[in-house]
Symmetry: C2
Subunit: 237 residues, 2 copies
């Protein structure tokens, strides 16, 4: 099965959580909007077409044969067992998905730390609110999420968050730490020593053979100021 | 199976999306924190206990035998086929879940319309940001979500959002319209005539026998100023 991933071609964004799973598994996939200008036009056409029976509300979405699947965590729920990135029993799949949904909430809070008023306005037009929200994020929410995932990892008594082998949730946790280091380098430098288990997980994921190849390739887009994780020094501690 | 629902006892909040499914299906369940003061203490104990191998990050969560499942949409993913509120084939379950996750995003935006800076601060301490965010929500986001779900309903060519019979997604859409009418009565009064299909769906759901009984009972909490949907006249149009 050749998967088609549809996502904005110039940012990591939410699509990156799907890319990491596809890359780590060595899956056969096309990153449609990055292939050519036609790819981007095709993505927009598919989103706006009235002939799609089950349309996505937003990107990313995945085409698998005739099936169109949207919502990042839902895509990973679908792909996980197919890519060997989660055990197949229902209880484990639901637990991995629950963690992924908690990561999705975390991602939304990272986004809103620089866009607390509206995704439709420039950062500069909501800078005041962003300073307050980012402070709240750094001081309250960031440690709360790190505590939680640190506890999950500890209680699982393995090198990974779910079960005894790596799952797509571990890949997403790697991405969170990468992104947070980019966006909040000073806050993270202060916090990381408290979360050595999660940092260890990050390092194990980064060293995975196919993932390391991907991360060193030009398929891995750099972080930038258009994505979810953005570095505004005034929003860091 | 007697299900145990764990959620704050004084608000509809995110727990209500689960309550509606349990009530509509006539499921055997206990709303633990509403049973007694011990229920609330039990909920907090369960959340903080280090002996829970797969702990929830936040409420609501459901206990089904020994399984503890959190994240509203994930709980409905689990319950849907068991309660006869979604077809059992994978493609349909994923599609219903995708819609439910889009509703979850919408719910988060409703919450942030009155708490754009932090859930840990009073509304009064973020009123300025709330006015801007609520205006953006009413003018841009609310019509965008209504357009989307109106389109989904239209393309499905049935009385319901998914397949030919009612699913948990329809119950959640009922709840969205109820909540939005409470929070933004003026904005909704202006918009509703454009979305007669969704309003029709709302009315069909409200008339379902077991759901109508529930809605008229004291098990249905009234909306109030502590929940997700809050009515601040200055945030309405």
């Amino acid at each position: 099965m050749r998967y088609e991933l549809y996502y904005w071609p110039s940012i990591q964004g939410r699509g990156e959580f799907v890319r990491l799973a596809l890359e780590d598994a060595g899956a056969d996939y096309v990153d449609v909007a990055r292939q050519s200008k036609h790819g981007m036009a095709g993505m927009m056409r598919l989103m706006e077409s009235r002939s799609v029976g089950r349309p996505p509300f937003a990107t990313p979405f995945l085409k698998a044969g005739k099936q169109v699947i949207a919502q990042t965590a839902n895509i990973l729920l679908f792909l996980g067992p197919r890519l060997g990135l989660v055990r197949k029993d229902e209880a484990t799949r639901l637990w991995a998905h629950q963690l992924q949904l908690t990561i999705a909430d975390w991602v939304a809070e990272v986004h809103d730390s620089h866009h607390p008023i509206s995704g439709g306005l420039y950062y500069e037009d909501q800078k005041r609110g962003a300073k307050r929200r980012a402070a709240e994020f750094r001081d309250e929410r960031l440690p709360k999420f790190l505590d939680y995932f640190g506890q999950v990892l500890k209680r699982n008594e393995s090198d990974y968050l779910v079960g005894k082998t790596a799952s797509y949730v571990d890949l997403s946790m790697f991405q969170m730490i990468e992104g947070l280091r980019y966006a909040f380098p000073r806050a993270m430098a202060k916090l990381e020593s408290k979360y050595s288990r999660l940092v260890g997980l990050h390092d194990r994921v980064a060293a995975r053979r196919r993932l390391a190849t991907y991360l060193a390739s030009d398929r891995r887009l750099p972080f930038n100021q258009q994505g979810i994780f953005r570095h505004y020094p005034e929003l860091d501690s």
